[in-house]
Subunit: 255 residues, 4 copies
């Protein structure tokens, strides 16, 4: 049973991971590291910083803290020969360099999305891409999301475009001849993949990748209802690494 | 049992209507009027023009011919005291004037869409509009459709905007602050209703009207798979009229 | 501005309503009534029972407590000439009798479902029912739901069957001739409406009512993501009543 | 460019394949074999039986005829060293034996479903199966389909169950405790995969495989709108084989 320290362990994601990972039965939560005191401890000891963490009691650090927090975690893991799983995003180049350096000393997984369903969606889309004439993406999010299109949809479009190119297929051309109103046909992205972004209160995070060919359609839909969906992907990452130096970028290779 | 003459009776729509209407059991097909000879007669007599139609044998004319054909049908109906149901679109102002004049002498129904499902969709959308914070439309069509967005989706947006305005609701504001790629948020239409147009081979004609409010969503989806879906709406129109002067614009009021 | 007392105000629904209703700007929360102390007060005073509530400060009582709590609320409203909105379910006949008696003295709204989207779904389904040959319902819930099919889906089926019967349509007959495996064709309910119940972790509460006719389909989908969706329906009910005796059963008539 | 003979070439499927395969540009249609005379020839010569076919002009035979027709095609291919692609279903054991024997002399592909989208759906479902707690299938067909559940959905359930078992996952248990009406929870199939069969006029052939886990869902939907969707799968099969003895059962391995 691997013992985990969760950096950012008092945050909403940290608390969700602590609860979800301990419930799986194959991890113990050794420490919750956070400047703020956690609401629940899940059997872990609380540490306001890594200085207070007993290195002997930890196998892997899970980081869902902040870009600065990642630097502290990466250094501590490198110094103490612990694996590191990073879900924090928005790192500067310099912060990312510290992570890459840590990966020359210990095992590190870094990913923007730990949802297994999202990763499978992207994988299936790339597999289906060579067999259909056209593909468009609809991503639907709550109305508090500030940007459009979503990063996830752009990543999916990129993967689809690469798979089409690898199969020798041409860029897709928009068949619409008469645009009565601009914007209706969505954003034009990699390889001609169109992305349509819907924003409605009530929604959480949803994505449909729609393929069409003569007489048939194939749709891959992913619904994210709750952040607890990250638990499984983080668990796969924590399973995959230890002190052996290694950098795993994205969890696709673990699925 | 009303006897129908179908103008444009050799065309694909005319043949579908002849078969579908006669199968309902409450209409007989008295004449198929068309310059081309029809593939199937469905018990009707064939007339290459209205000159050859025996007026005594007909109660109502169904016109799915051409803008010029509509003019001939409207004049014949006005002269012979027959009801007229028009599904032909693309009339010039002058052609439309002839139709309006006929409606001062006999009953006329004119509509762009005889699909009951499409009409119900639009009606439900207007009824739901006052109760939700935001609404967006996704319309999905085969890749041979030349224009975007679809006329049906624009009509639905107009109805939703009118219903919101009548309920004292403000225009909707796009909540997206950062547009990474233009077009992602769709076409901006009446009252801020966004329309997204998807074009894929394999599809026929589909539309989703998505409403969102705190904690919930309501979606009205209409799928058109085949032109036979017009039979019911044409039948409702044929039931509704006779020689009494009257103009019914759209079949909403018949449902 | 109406002042509300929320019975069951410390519960999850009570707290959600207190926050949601006060945010609308047209209600003040005068009192939260609950044996347990509430987490948040939303400007209200706390009362452990109705004995502690200052009647002069309240216009309408909102009850999402327990069957016993409803009885106390109904008696207090009848005695103090206050309107009452009841969302608590599972009342015995005797408890319901107390509610009905209160409605002879003050205004009472009682409903099993305050989601406007759910009520609109049911209404639209009844409106569409006369125009389609067949209809089936798919309801999808999280895997902790103990019963199947859902009460909401059965109520929808009942409304559809009544609308079909009123239009002179016959009971629907299952077209399936060969049942390879029993259960595939769902539960047979009112008027032959089939209900299919899907149970998956991750889901919240979702329902699709699917209508089909020649060449077309119409689908009404409702998604409940969060209990905050009840706020609007409760607000409509609170708006609708005062001390004038009246019983409103279900919020359909308020929409 | 491979030259194809289409057995059953006057039927609806045969005509669709002749048109679709010749339009791809990498096949010529050498012969349409059918007792009935074909409506269109697509550049092929017409043969009322294989006796009239010039073997030198053909590389591969495509059979969408009848179980008896398959036997004739298999013998002719074996005798003349031609590849054979079989889409005809409903073979007796004896008829199937003739096919297997032909495959010891020439290349043979036999499959129940040549839709690439359907095959990809099944493949993706098996890949996703180990990562979700529960999965259910909804298949939706027109009301003329005589049986339920569909063969395609049962095959998908079988593949999912095998993938779950291979990953060491247990049979799924229905979480429903109280069945108010029997049948609501669908048909119980391999590994506890539930199948729900919807039958509505207007629909063609559609299938949704719904996976659910903590906080997320993944849905794989396939829509068949027209038999032209078989063209691509038949083309992949025709590409894959020649006179070299070989039996390919299903087109999964070709995708």
């Amino acid at each position: 049973m691997k013992a985990l320290a969760i950096n950012g362990g008092a945050g909403r994601m940290g608390q969700t991971l602590a609860g979800g990972l301990s419930a799986l039965g194959r991890f113990s939560i050794g420490a919750l590291v956070d400047a703020r005191e956690p609401h629940e401890l899940f059997g872990a000891s609380y540490a306001s910083s890594f200085d207070e963490v007993d290195a002997d009691s930890i196998d892997v650090v899970i980081d869902f803290s902040s870009p600065e927090g990642v630097v502290a975690a990466a250094r501590w893991c490198a110094d103490n020969a612990k694996g590191l799983v990073i879900g924090t995003t928005g790192l500067t180049n310099e912060q990312r360099r510290v992570v890459d350096e840590a990966a020359t000393k210990v095992g590190v997984v870094i990913a923007a999305n730990y949802s297994v369903g999202a990763v499978l969606s992207e994988k299936f889309a790339a597999l289906a891409a060579p067999y259909f004439d056209r593909v468009e993406i609809i991503e639907l999010h709550h109305d508090k999301k500030v940007d459009a299109p979503s990063g996830t949809s752009i990543a999916a479009a990129k993967g689809i475009a690469a798979a089409r190119a690898a199969a020798g297929l041409p860029e897709m051309i928009d068949p619409t001849l008469r645009h009565t109103l601009s914007g209706a046909r969505g954003a034009d992205t990699f390889g001609g993949v169109k992305i349509h972004s819907v924003r409605l209160p009530g929604l959480v995070a949803h994505q449909e990748i729609l393929f069409g060919g003569p007489g048939e359609g194939l749709t891959i839909r992913h619904d994210s209802f709750d952040r607890v969906s990250f638990v499984q992907g983080v668990a796969l990452a924590a399973d995959a690494i230890d002190a052996t130096p290694r950098l795993i970028d994205g969890i696709e290779s673990l699925i």
